[in-house]
């Protein structure tokens, strides 16, 4: 199925951006609490694109190696949410969350599952906020690394 962005009116695109912004802002505040440092967000933009164009957008400006945490949701609307970041930074991210009290070895052992849990917190913050704004309930799957 091909969807053209022009099928959505300006107000519909604006509403999508605003709802996404609420979800992402809440996710950013969760991330901020976990890492203990300020998280900067860009202005939200809505793009309705093909899968291929989406993967090009994600690749642009990043190292080719990416790691993603995926969570599916079902309910009044369903889909998959992905949290994607450069693989090279994943260990650093986990380290900043568990703190200095744990050794590097501990962190390496823990990396996969810690990423899943971190993704779970960030994606849930985003999706649950959107569900609350829309006054709908969604079921969330367990997080997985892809």
């Amino acid at each position: 199925m091909k969807i053209d962005a022009s099928e959505l009116s300006e107000i519909e695109q604006d509403a999508l951006a605003e709802i996404a912004n609420m979800g992402v802002s809440r996710a950013a505040s969760s991330l901020r609490r976990m890492v203990g440092e300020q998280v900067l967000l860009s202005v939200p933009a809505v793009n309705i694109v093909s899968r291929r164009a989406a993967s090009r957008m994600v690749e642009r400006g990043h190292s080719p190696k990416l790691v993603a945490v995926q969570q599916s949701f079902e309910g009044p609307f369903s889909g998959r949410a992905l949290l994607i970041f450069p693989e090279a930074q994943s260990l650093e991210l986990v380290r900043s969350i568990v703190g200095e009290e744990h050794s590097l070895e501990d962190v390496i052992d823990l990396e996969q599952e810690a990423l899943a849990e971190t993704g779970n917190i960030i994606l849930n913050a985003c999706l649950a906020t959107i569900a609350n704004v829309l006054r709908r309930t969604m079921r969330m799957s367990l997080p997985s690394i892809v």
Binding site: S30, I121, N124, A128, A131
Partner: protein, 127 residues
């Protein structure tokens, strides 16, 4: 008086974060960890646990279902559902089961508030 807390979460990271917060807030607490609901039910059947902190999104039985099962045998045990899934319905269901809702990422303030309330209830029950 030393109290015993059961931490139920499938994520090791989440259990570590919870244990670190306990070390800061109440090092006198004895902690027991379970990685799923079935283990948690076994622990509670086998020993005297005072409170439980339970993740919502776990493989198998979810946290709210586990709270409902614990309530059948322990109507007054202080329980908290710990989750980043802050949907109104999830928080509402926790409240209906007389359980607190503690948001992930966990903060010392939120855990501290739950623990002080829990200790008050435990002391009252012991009188």
């Amino acid at each position: 008086m030393q109290y015993k807390a059961l931490i139920v979460d499938d994520s090791k990271l989440a259990r570590m974060v919870m244990a670190s917060a306990f070390r800061r807030l109440g090092p006198e607490w004895e902690l027991i960890e379970a990685t799923n609901a079935d283990d948690a039910i076994d622990v509670i059947a086998a020993q005297a646990v005072d409170i439980a902190l339970i993740d919502f999104n776990m493989p198998g039985i979810d946290g709210l279902e586990l709270v409902a099962r614990i309530r059948k045998t322990h109507p007054k045990m202080p329980l908290a559902v710990v989750s980043a899934n802050v949907q109104d319905e999830i928080i509402g269901r926790a409240r209906e089961l007389n359980a607190a809702f503690v948001t992930k990422p966990l903060t010392d303030e939120a855990l501290g508030a739950f623990l002080s309330g829990a200790v008050l209830r435990l002391k009252k029950a012991a009188q």
